[in-house]
Symmetry: C2
Subunit: 329 residues, 2 copies
């Protein structure tokens, strides 16, 4: 057990709503294709909003919700796969966007396990809390996927959306709340199944001009599903092995919103009740690392997720990894 209290949650969604009909029309995709194949009716695409802008607004909302101020933070973690600039790290840029942030010297670090970044960051945040030196940590996942999509690829261009969410975790002296267990496993066999090829050192900008395929997300959906289907049951069996709960006992299973088929797999593989599975894929799309915290924050804000509830933040990510953090809220 890694004790902490979640004292504040907040989200920020871009102002630009993009219904599937609009996307289908602009990209000459067959009408109804997006909802049928991706399961997404609506997503948001940033316009003026940067990763830092969206992240800072989510943090401000979470601090307000917690009744805390920026100066109360001991650490800021950016937990995401996309960024405003390749350098410096995103957390520093997000801090710069926060009002009066020049007054405070709390450190800014980035943690990236692609779609599971929030789940990993929650583990690091829990381990970083200290009653004397670090009473509150902000974790923010702010993702802009929309600028790295290939319009010719219907699967990815209808699936992804932009969003941000932040959570404030705080020292919990009671020891009753927090992370019951965290684990992650990386399976190399899937390392190249989700990739953005261009823009790093392998296909660097200097030598490789823009190409919508090279510089956009690519997914080998079929391989990923097969891999997940094989690996998820063994991962969860091991994860729950020595715990006094089964996955079926969890109040809220909050999986990464990888895809419609990926979400169905969770229900069928583990025999979950429909109401146990949290999903916002239909109205947000796959928001990379922001999917899990957006769902968690919205669940808390609308009262569906209640104090004391058992929540399993989990899923698959590019790399290929499976991870889970079981928390008592």
């Amino acid at each position: 057990m890694n004790p902490f209290k979640i004292t504040g949650v907040g989200t920020y969604l871009p102002t630009n709503e993009v219904p599937s009909e609009q996307l289908e029309e602009s990209l000459s995709i067959k009408k109804g294709w997006a909802a049928r194949y991706s399961g997404v009716q609506m997503r948001y695409h940033s316009t003026f909003e940067s990763n830092a802008y969206m992240g800072a607004r989510a943090i401000e909302n979470a601090l307000d919700h917690a009744g805390l101020e920026l100066g109360d933070l001991g650490l800021l973690i950016s937990a995401a796969a996309t960024y405003d600039y390749p350098l410096p790290n995103q957390a520093s840029l997000t801090k710069l966007e926060l009002t009066d942030s020049e007054k405070y010297t709390f450190p800014c670090i980035d943690i990236d396990t692609t779609c599971l970044s929030f789940v990993t960051a929650l583990d690091h945040a829990a381990k970083s809390l200290d009653p004397n030196t670090c009473r509150h940590v902000a974790i923010v996942s702010s993702e802009i996927a929309s600028k790295n999509l290939n319009p010719a690829n219907w699967e990815t261009s209808t699936l992804f959306g932009d969003a941000s969410a932040a959570v404030i975790i705080s020292v919990d002296e009671s020891g009753e709340k927090g992370s019951i267990k965290y684990d992650m496993r990386t399976y190399c066999e899937g390392a190249m199944n989700t990739i953005m090829k261009g823009g790093g050192n392998e296909f660097c900008f200097r030598d490789h001009p823009y190409d919508p395929e090279m510089h956009s997300f690519q997914m080998n959906g079929k391989h990923l599903l097969r891999l997940a289907k094989r690996r998820l049951p063994e991962f969860m069996d091991t994860f729950f092995e020595e715990l006094p709960f089964k996955i079926q006992d969890v109040d809220h299973v909050i999986p990464h919103q990888a895809s419609k088929t990926g979400l169905r797999m969770f229900v069928t593989l583990f025999g979950l009740e429909e109401e146990q599975l949290e999903s916002n894929l239909e109205v947000r799309g796959n928001c990379i690392a922001a999917s899990i915290p957006t769902m968690f924050c919205e669940g808390v804000l609308d009262g569906r997720i209640k104090e004391g509830d058992l929540c399993l933040l989990c899923g698959t990510s590019a790399g290929f990894s499976i991870g889970a953090n079981l928390i008592r809220f």
Copy 2:
């Protein structure tokens, strides 16, 4: 105190050595300029080597040095600012490069605090060790700066080099070795002083074709030095305040090799003896996050850094941050 033993160290340098004379000739830089202004006589530039390739070789060397095998690892952390692909995370790609890695499911995470990534990752690694579930963690910093330099900018194109280094940290039951203290502070006022503008969401590649200035590292050296000069003394005063040592008592001060002037500042600000300060800037250049671990590993391998020595891994990073990890080796 966060106990751990450093059981193995390893490095990998690209095969292509680039002396300053060669660089000056190819970039039409005045002869002798590099050594005089950057303080760099020699650096390495990767040719066939990727971040993953260099990182994997450094990890293999560190595992050999530790007498451990890949299967002994409980976690792999990539601690760096540059990467092969924007997605997935670098640690997963580095794992894929390791022989037989498909047999093991240890998790792969990226931690990025730019030049201080190794210092931050060491803190996370220490907190992740567990006698039952995670006895050994590999931290690797593998950096390729050479592909993101503007040949028209003499300061950056002569300063940076490529390198990788890995360290294995292991459970230490004695409790005598490990991290005595870690801290980092982020000062927003310097957030835009070191930047690579192009290639993220703000100046995305789709809308901004390659431009050597936009798609290369940019540094405002004068601002950074002024900021470091003001902030470093207050940071170190606070860091050592409640410790039974002063910075002058440390056996090896291992600062990030930011620049020749930056390194001189350490000696003069803190009144260090010349032999206390570790430096490889002259023969490696500034290797971003790989500078600190490369120096540490080389110091251990050549016997200069001995068991029981106090080492201060510290420095400045883009963001702008100052960080330090005081360890008993």
